[in-house]
Amino acid sequence: MSEEGPRVLIVEDEPEVRRFLRTALDVQGFRVVEAATAKEGLAAATTYNPEVILLDLGLPDGDGIEITRKVREWSRVPIIVISARGREDDKVGALDAGADDYLTKPFGVNELLARVRVALRHAVQSASPGGDPVLEIGTLRIDQSRREVRIGEREVKLTPIEYRLLVLLARNAGKVLTHRQILREVWGPPYVGEVQYLRVFMAQLRRKVEAEPARPRLLLTEQGVGYRLREG
């Protein structure tokens, strides 16, 4: 157990799941705090000031979505929801409430660790606004100061909307953004319901960015939830 490792709060009522999470995270050098109920979870979130929260939705004394909302009132700590509820509506609900990511049980440890790392990195990035004007993800390179997008050596010409869309996804690379979140950021709050427009622009963007638009490697669809730009 490393003293310097990031603090992770696990809010989960199943002791077996807690045990497996603790083991997996311990091994990776995280400092783990556990809570079995919503009440304990909220208390721990204020006391220990964790850097990531893993949150189960179905807790005996309250709904995880409620906890997410309460935490979001005062903190931007990344929240990764882990839940047996696999329906898209549940995911969208949690993400729109302020969760950063969503993992459906069962999941592999690799996947969990990848999501935790993404969350930690984004937390660092958002803490220092502005940041690097150049975003590089795999072969994709976005130079925000020059408003230039390249795939490998090839320069890609984008319309202003497409550009904003790509930048938004790239800044949140690895993270799922719901339709509402994307629409609000790119088009503005009045357009949060216009999912099909988003789909059309995304298809258009894929044709410009992806080698094979029907088998996207970069701009991935989380069907019924939103979009994610794949890291690396």
């Binding site: 898209e88 408003r147 909307i161 088009w187 099909q196 427009y197 298809a203 029907a214 669809t221 019924g224």
Partner: protein, 916 residues
């Protein structure tokens, strides 16, 4: 006859007929469990009925029985009030009636309290207006139906069938009566008796309470002679009852009774006011003979339908017969005596009771005598004459029909104008026209007026014609004087012709009206049945019936179906134009619970604006037809049978719909059952297999870690991961299937580029399709399609997974799609071994697994595909390809007007650069 069967059975061998035995056991069972009615019966106020009742009640109370006093009047008598102490008395309900507050018995309170025994004084009491029932005895019946024993008191003069006998004795007619049927319903009748001398003594001592209005009659009523006669009546009535009990007992115990077997009495009822006493007489005779009795009325078809007041009196008479326990029969036919005799023979009637004719003899000569025809044709049937009660004069003679109708001024105007015109014409052409011509012209006017305006204007025209003829054309002209007496003959003939014509025309008009009304009814029934044929569920039936009933009965109607409690007010789902309020709903509730009509124009809650008919199917009530009409429902026999037919048809349709729903539910249950059993066997196999592998691998790792080398350890962990994944997939599939099968998943269609859906499906399959040759062929100009993207992603995942599982690694998999004519066509094809012949349909069955299935298949992938496609209203089919391999084709309607190209109209594509 009712007991025909039993008689036969006993003739053969003196052994009870098993059916009869069963019926009796059931009847006894019902008797034991049903609530009991006890009546304390007396011959006069003051004999101590209430006192006796309370005394017994106190004893019962002391024994611990739940006795509650519902309504008892102490009339300020100390000894009675004393008895009430220690008994629970229900609070009264205050009813405001015409400004004064009246304390009434609270029926709902009693029903809610539900004691074992309820005491209710004065059975003949008339409730205050606005109560649920007009009469207290109806309250008693409802209490009994609710399973509450009722004790009550009654005086002999309030018994319906004895009403006019009592009136003859005492010259006091009592208006508040109780039907004999209620008395017959009583399980116990307890006679409370006091010798008249003692009663008179008590009266003198002021111990008998008398209502204010009775004080005037007190001298008339409380004469010793009267009291003796009344006492005898009460004793006789009680004795009759005891007799009946004895007979029932003998019957029950197979004692061959000596009662006049097969006696059956028929009372001829008409609209005459004297029929009422005829009915009471018939009932007394029937009671004396302990025979069933029938009140029969012969209706002449159509044309001679009764007019308003006559009809009302007839209805009243028939209702009286019903309330006295008689069966009411309506016969139709031109010859009254023939119909009566035909019915009498068919139904083994032994005695016919008719009233003595009171009309003049000449009517018999003209119309034929009903009585003499009856007597002549009666054969072995006895015919009894009972004199009409001359006291019947209390009922006013029937007012003429026209008095009620607005005067037809136009008709009379036409009569006057027509006669004046002919008179004028006759005067002008006096030289040309002969007198008979003028007479014929007048007749013409009478005919025209009769044809256009009906009977009374025609009669007026006839009278005017006679006058005008006399005045203008009979010498001396312009006087009413007639010199030649022969002209009187002409006048007479003219008037007679007018009379005959007007009568004929009137008859025609009435027949026409009747025919039209009949036609309208038939048409309404026809329309109802035609529409009901198409109705498939109960709510549809209800909607149609409500609409047709509203049209037929001239108002708004609704059919109320019992819904799940809590779903709708009072547990009803209402269909139709009429939105019943709380009042109407409680009427409907009552009608539903009691299986009898209630509301406007009935005996129950007559103050309600709506009338509710229960829809009865056997003993079950399927619903209630509630009609909110501007006027009372018509009560003539034809309308009633029309309503009956209406209700019957609706009930039949409802029943059919219910059976259909039940059959469907049963089929669904059977399918679900079948699915569940195959699911269970599949689940037990498919979940246990990976679980076995996981358990085996995990226990090996736990128990022998040191004996395993690193390769073995890795293999075991791989097994655990792989099998867990497989189990996860199976559970996911099962959940998907259950969601789709539950029917709650309606596709959420959104306009999406198909590419996007295919892309996300391929993303999910990335690891499984690793190294496979997959080609997708999606045209660049593929328009947006309206599909559920989540379900379609699942569809593609399942199809591609299926293709990957059943084909060798090197086999090519292709995915093609196109949109044509508003339909999306997708094909997933492979170059694998193809489907075994005959499997093309079976692959879509749940838990069916092909012969080449590799590990991990659960036989749910393709059924899920089919469920998804069908939820979108499309089709899926499997076939073998030319040149080898299998192909799955999907055709789904995706709607017209799809957006092509990236042109989301109206959405800004240009943003302020500064923001970027």
């Amino acid at each position: 006859m009712a007991n025909g069967r039993e008689d036969e059975g006993m003739d053969d061998e003196r052994r009870p007929d098993p059916d009869a035995l069963l019926r009796r056991v059931q009847a006894e069972e019902a008797r034991r469990t049903r609530a009991r009615l006890r009546i304390y019966f007396g011959y006069s106020p003051g004999v101590g009925k209430t006192f006796t009742m309370l005394e017994v009640a106190r004893r019962l109370r002391a024994d611990g029985t739940d006795v509650v006093v519902g309504g008892v009047e102490t009339h300020g008598r100390q000894e009675t009030a004393e008895l009430l102490k220690g008994l629970e008395v229900l609070p009264r309900r205050a009813v405001e009636y015409r400004g004064t507050l009246q304390q009434e018995f609270d029926l709902d309170g009693a029903l809610a309290r539900k004691p074992k025994v309820l005491l209710l004084d004065e059975l003949a009491h008339t409730n205050a207006e606005g109560s649920r029932h007009p009469k207290r005895w109806q309250d008693a019946i409802e209490l009994l139906e609710a399973g509450i024993d009722v004790w009550t008191t009654l005086n002999v003069q309030h018994v319906e069938s004895l009403n006019d006998v009592v009136a003859q004795i005492t010259f006091v007619r009592v208006r508040e009566t109780v039907p004999d049927a209620v008395l017959d319903r009583a399980d116990e009748i307890e006679l409370v008796d006091l010798p008249p001398d003692q009663l008179l003594e008590r009266l003198r001592e002021g111990k008998v309470y008398l209502p204010e209005q009775a004080r005037r009659a007190v001298d008339n009523f409380f004469r010793r002679g009267n009291l003796l006669a009344l006492r005898e009546l009460a004793l006789r009535r009680t004795a009759e009852r005891v007799d009946a009990d004895v007979a029932a007992y003998r019957h029950q115990h197979e004692i061959r009774s000596t009662w006049a077997a097969g006696e059956r009495i028929l009372v001829c009822v008409g609209p005459s006011p004297t029929s009422a006493s005829l009915i009471r007489g018939g009932r007394r005779m029937a009671a004396g003979l302990r025979a069933p009795w029938v009140a029969a009325y012969v209706e002449a078809p159509g044309a001679f339908a009764l007019t308003g007041p006559d009809r009302d009196r007839l209805q009243a008479n028939l209702r009286l017969a019903e309330s006295l326990g008689g069966e009411v029969v309506r016969l139709t036919g031109a010859g009254a005596s023939e119909e009566i005799l035909r019915y009498a023979r068919e139904h083994n009637v032994t005695r016919i009771v008719v009233g003595k004719p009171t009309h003049r003899r000449w009517r018999d000569v003209l119309r034929g005598s009903f009585v003499s025809e009856l007597v002549r044709g009666s054969g072995t049937i006895e015919v009894h004459f009972i004199s009409g009660d001359e006291g019947g004069a209390e009922e006013p003679p029937a007012p003429r029909e026209t008095a009620a109708r607005p005067v037809d001024w136009l008709g009379y105007g036409m009569a006057v104008a027509g006669v004046a015109a002919v008179a004028g014409l006759g005067v002008a052409l006096r030289d040309v026209l002969a007198m008979p011509d003028v007479a014929v012209l007048f007749l013409l006017v009478i005919m025209v007026v009769a044809a256009r305006c009906g009977r009374w204007p025609a009669l007026a025209a006839a009278a005017l014609s006679v006058a005008a003829y006399d005045f203008c054309f009979v010498p001396p002209f312009y006087t009413m004087t007639v010199h030649d007496t022969r002209h009187f003959l002409t006048f007479g003939m003219m008037f007679a012709v007018g009379l005959v014509i007007s009568a004929l025309v009137d008859l025609l008009r009435r027949q026409e009206r009747a025919a039209r009304a009949r036609e309208a009814r038939t048409a309404a029934l026809h329309a109802l049945s035609r529409e009901l044929v198409g109705a498939t569920d109960a709510r549809q039936v209800a909607r149609i019936a409500a609409r047709q009933a509203g049209a037929a009965l001239g108002g708004e109607a609704a059919v109320l179906l019992p819904g799940a409690p809590g779903n709708a007010p009072l547990g009803f789902v209402a269909e139709g134009a009429f939105r019943p309020g709380d009042n109407a709903l409680s009427v409907a509730r009552w009608a539903f619970d009691h299986g009898r009509p209630a509301g406007r124009g009935t005996d129950t809650l007559p103050g309600s604006p709506a009338i509710c008919f229960p829809l009865l199917s056997g003993t079950r009530t399927l619903g209630v037809l509630a009609v909110h009409a501007a006027s009372n429902p018509p009560d003539d026999p034809e309308s009633r049978s029309h309503i009956d037919a209406f209700l019957r048809q609706t009930t039949l349709a409802l029943e059919r719909a219910r059976f259909e729903e039940e059959a469907q539910a049963a089929a669904l249950r059977a399918r679900t059952e079948e699915m569940r059993s195959s699911l269970l066997s599949a689940v037990s196999h498919d979940l246990r297999t990976p679980l076995a592998a996981i358990t085996g691998a995990a226990t090996t790792l736990r128990d022998d870690p040191e004996r395993l080398d690193s390769r073995q350890r890795r293999e075991l962990t791989e097994t655990i991961c792989g099998e867990a994944e497989r189990m996860g997939r199976l559970i996911g599939n099962l959940l998907d299937m259950m969601r789709l099968e539950s029917g709650r998943v309606a596709p959420r269609r959104e306009w999406v580029p198909l590419e996007d859906v295919v892309g996300s499906a391929l993303g999910r399959l990335e690891s499984r399709l690793e190294g496979r040759d997959l080609r997708t062929d999606l045209p660049d100009d593929l328009p947006l399609v309206a599909i559920d993207p989540v379900l379609f992603e699942q569809l593609f995942v399942n199809l591609l997974e299926n293709a990957a599982r059943h084909t060798p690694r090197e086999a090519l998999i292709e995915l093609r799609a196109r949109v044509a004519d508003g339909r999306l066509e997708v094909e997933v094809a492979d170059r694998g071994p193809g489907l075994p012949p005959g499997e093309e349909e079976r692959v879509f069955e749940k838990f069916h697994r092909g012969p080449h299935a590799g590990a991990g298949g659960v036989g749910l992938g393709l059924p899920i595909c089919r469920a998804i496609v069908e939820a979108h209203g499309g089709t899926i089919a499997a076939a073998n390809r030319e040149g080898g391999g299998a192909s799955f084709r999907i055709v789904v309607p995706v709607g017209a007007g799809s957006v092509t190209g990236p042109d989301p109209g109206g959405l800004p594509d240009v943003l302020p650069e500064a923001k970027a």
